[in-house]
Symmetry: C2
């Protein structure tokens, strides 16, 4: 019997905790250690028997971990320590700074390839599953048009922007796909839709006592880059309502591709992929964990260097062996 795949987690925020839960659901894996920049004593893992170590000790653990799942952020953490880990471990991460993916890929690829390791980058649902569906749709319907919609979900960046306005005590922002735009994408009749036509922004704001609510609402709606140009709704609520109704981390979205086939383009073909997630970090963690299995298998067959979701043969993420997939799932 094959030993279990030994997983390490770097960074124990919402995503890292999601990975802990996901590893537990996968019978061929076990969690070997969690690495943190905080004081290890401050971390409260679900499984109390798992080692928690300072991130500085990771270098000593190379022979005890098969795949390291990097759960840090894409702005500070991953560009800083990603290549260091890629040189020492097989890794999976959710790097999502779209514009810098090519550069990050090159750095991770060099570090991993030189050291006989395998790194799968930018895994999750966008980038990740959604990237795969955009590519698939374009390959199958080359003259088709594909649209991505995000939401209904919490945008951390927009929520933070609201909270920076004077007089705002707390607030949260949901990005919501515009129903008419979805119908337009399905009909295949649009030519170009901007992100701001495709989404509505819903804000729930707790104002400080005596604050000018009209002014706050105006400042939100006209904020450049974040809200200006969007259809934005602002609702004032109490701190209690915020805690009670808005403490989850739901998200999701659609990739819709509509194309035409036929001698006279008379046939419409519609492909849709939808996610409705009660917990964004737990779902992202579930995808990362499945791809940790692929990183392990790729490395065992000497496929070294960096990969994205587009490079990985799908069967490598499955618990089931290829013969079973062919007989039961195909």
């Amino acid at each position: 019997m094959q030993d279990k795949i030994r997983i390490g987690i770097v960074g124990y925020g919402n995503l890292g905790r999601g990975v802990e839960l996901a590893v537990h659901r996968n019978p061929d894996m076990k969690l070997a250690a969690v690495f943190t920049r905080r004081d290890p004593k401050q971390l409260s893992l679900i499984n109390k028997t798992v080692k928690v170590l300072p991130i500085g000790q990771a270098g000593k653990m190379t022979s005890e971990i098969d795949v390291m799942i990097l759960c840090g952020g894409s702005v500070g953490d991953l560009p800083q320590y990603g290549p260091w880990f890629a040189a020492r471990f097989n890794t999976v991460d959710s790097y999502d700074n779209h514009a810098n993916i090519p550069e990050y890929y090159d750095r991770m690829n060099r570090a991993a390839a030189k050291n006989g390791k395998t790194s799968i980058i930018s895994i999750g649902w966008d980038p990740g599953l959604f990237s795969f569906f955009r590519m698939l749709s374009e390959a199958v319907l080359p003259q088709g048009k594909s649209h991505t919609f995000w939401g209904r979900g919490v945008s951390q960046g927009h929520s933070a922007a609201i909270r920076r306005i004077p007089g705002v005590k707390n607030g949260i922002q949901y990005t919501i796909p515009n129903k008419e735009a979805i119908e337009q994408a399905r009909s295949g009749e649009d030519s170009e839709m901007k992100t701001e036509d495709k989404h509505v922004r819903e804000c729930y704001v707790v104002a400080e006592e005596g604050a000018d609510k009209e002014s706050i609402a105006r400042q939100i709606k006209t904020m450049p880059h974040y809200f200006a140009g969007y259809k934005t709704h602002v609702t004032f609520i109490t701190e209690e309502e915020l805690k009670r109704e808005h403490s989850g981390m739901p998200h999701g979205g659609f990739v819709i591709c509509s194309g035409r086939t036929g001698e006279k383009e008379e046939n419409r073909q519609l492909i849709e992929f939808t996610l409705k997630l009660d917990s964004n970090p737990e779902f992202t963690a579930s995808v990362l964990t499945a791809y940790a299995r692929a990183a392990y298998r790729l490395n065992r067959t000497k496929c070294f260097g960096a990969r994205t979701i587009l490079d990985v043969p799908p069967a490598l993420i499955s618990l089931s062996p290829p013969e079973e997939l062919r007989s039961k799932l195909l």
Copy 2:
């Protein structure tokens, strides 16, 4: 500049014709020849300049074709000539006889591997894209439950069964997903749903003059294996109505996977993949054609033998090179 991928088509029915159209939409491919068991003069291609040859001459064309797309049926054609082609050409096919896929895979794998060729089998949407989504969902949410729904679409087998009843002049059957079952799959609350609970069968029948319509309807609804156990609607129409309203070949369906995450399984995660196809054969042909690109590329990198959709790195089906995919699509 790289030469175009030279495609051959074996069998020119609805699927073969769809491949001809799809090759035309892909700028890196050209159609080299069509092979048929009929008299070549009887075929009316869209592009009249393409060679049409008797299937017996295919063996002489090995150096003129990069990938052969096998467009025959899964009962008679593919098991008969698939391995012969796999030994001489890179191939793609839509073999869809689910129960016999493992055996067909083995035969194609042996023929292709021994001769340095690459064969991608069982491509299309089910088996094919739907197989991929079932596998993906189970890998990401191992304790989740995934359901496949087919339709609204024409079932050739059920339509033929109706037409065999005495007194029936013509008829067509649509498989339609049951809306309540879809909601149940989305809610994740079902444990087991049978295919007959998940689908409704809608029959449009042209009766011969003087035929006993009540008896026909009863014979349809009670027909074992085909209709018994299903909710079946029978509507009698005229031959003209049948021709006018029911001559298209629409199909589609859903793969819905609902699973739970969280320490107390408190978060529901829903993955849905939907196809709405005006033309089933043209869409299947579009998928086959995209995977012909992958067969060509796999063979160039000496990946010989048989593959399914689960074994092929997704980027291999794309027109765009990997760097472009990383910078634009990821």
